[in-house]
């Protein structure tokens, strides 16, 4: 499939290392944040989410950190695997209806 990461910032990580992907969001009124993974030729896939009343949430091998003071989100992936290679997007939702606004993605390349 065609790459969606042609002009995106790229993070290269050695297999087994931890990855940290950062994101600055735009709307201080946003109350819900999501990280998506998008593989080539596929739609975005939900990874993990966090509400604005939290500053950290952990999933399986993934952790999301939220710093509302500086409007910053990060996604940490532990023990990065080749299957983690993809483009990662942060997204935000500002209450009410389910409109989700995507940020600039980051392409993660895992080096075997």
């Amino acid at each position: 499939g065609e790459s969606v990461g042609l002009h995106l910032p790229t993070l290269s990580v050695q297999e087994g290392d931890n990855s940290i992907i950062n994101c600055a969001y735009s709307n201080s009124a946003s109350d819900y944040f999501i990280w998506y993974k998008q593989e080539s030729g596929k739609g975005p896939q939900f990874i993990i989410d966090i509400r604005s009343n939290m500053d950290k949430r952990q999933g399986q091998r993934v952790t999301v950190l939220l710093n509302k003071t500086v409007k910053h989100l990060s996604l940490q992936i532990a023990a990065t695997q080749p299957g983690d290679s993809a483009v990662y997007f942060c997204a935000e939702n500002t209450g009410g209806y389910q409109k989700v606004t995507f940020g600039t993605g980051t392409k993660l390349q895992v080096i075997p």
């Binding site: 989700v100 995507f102 993605g105």
Partner: protein, 114 residues
């Protein structure tokens, strides 16, 4: 349980033509949102349909229109196609029990305008 399905997967159209893209939401979902994703960019919100009506709209011209059917499936129509409309068009669905928290995307339709 089928997820979100979109058709067709790929499409080539000529500038000035019209196109219709289709989306079937995940079972149990009643809300459909459409996104445009240009190469190397994040998805951009086009509009959202709920109860067969457009509920929210992003910053897209009137050439972009849509429809939702009683079975919750949806169509995206684009008139007077421009070269800049070439993109991956994504459909996302969500349901009464898992609104934005359960946003599920299809694999998209790749539209190429020549």
């Amino acid at each position: 349980d089928a997820g979100v399905t979109q058709s067709p997967t790929h499409l080539i159209k000529t500038r000035g033509q019209q196109v219709t893209l289709r989306c079937s939401p995940k079972s149990g979902h009643d809300t459909v949102s459409w996104y445009q994703q240009a190469l190397g960019q994040g998805p951009q919100f086009i509009f959202q349909y709920y109860e067969e009506e457009e509920r929210q709209r992003g910053n897209f011209p009137d050439r972009f229109s849509g429809h939702q059917f009683p079975n919750y499936s949806s169509e995206l129509n684009v008139n007077a196609l421009l070269l800049g409309d070439s993109a991956l068009y994504l459909c996302a669905s969500s349901g009464p029990k898992d609104r934005v928290y359960g946003y599920t995307f299809g694999s998209g339709t790749r539209l190429t305008v020549v």
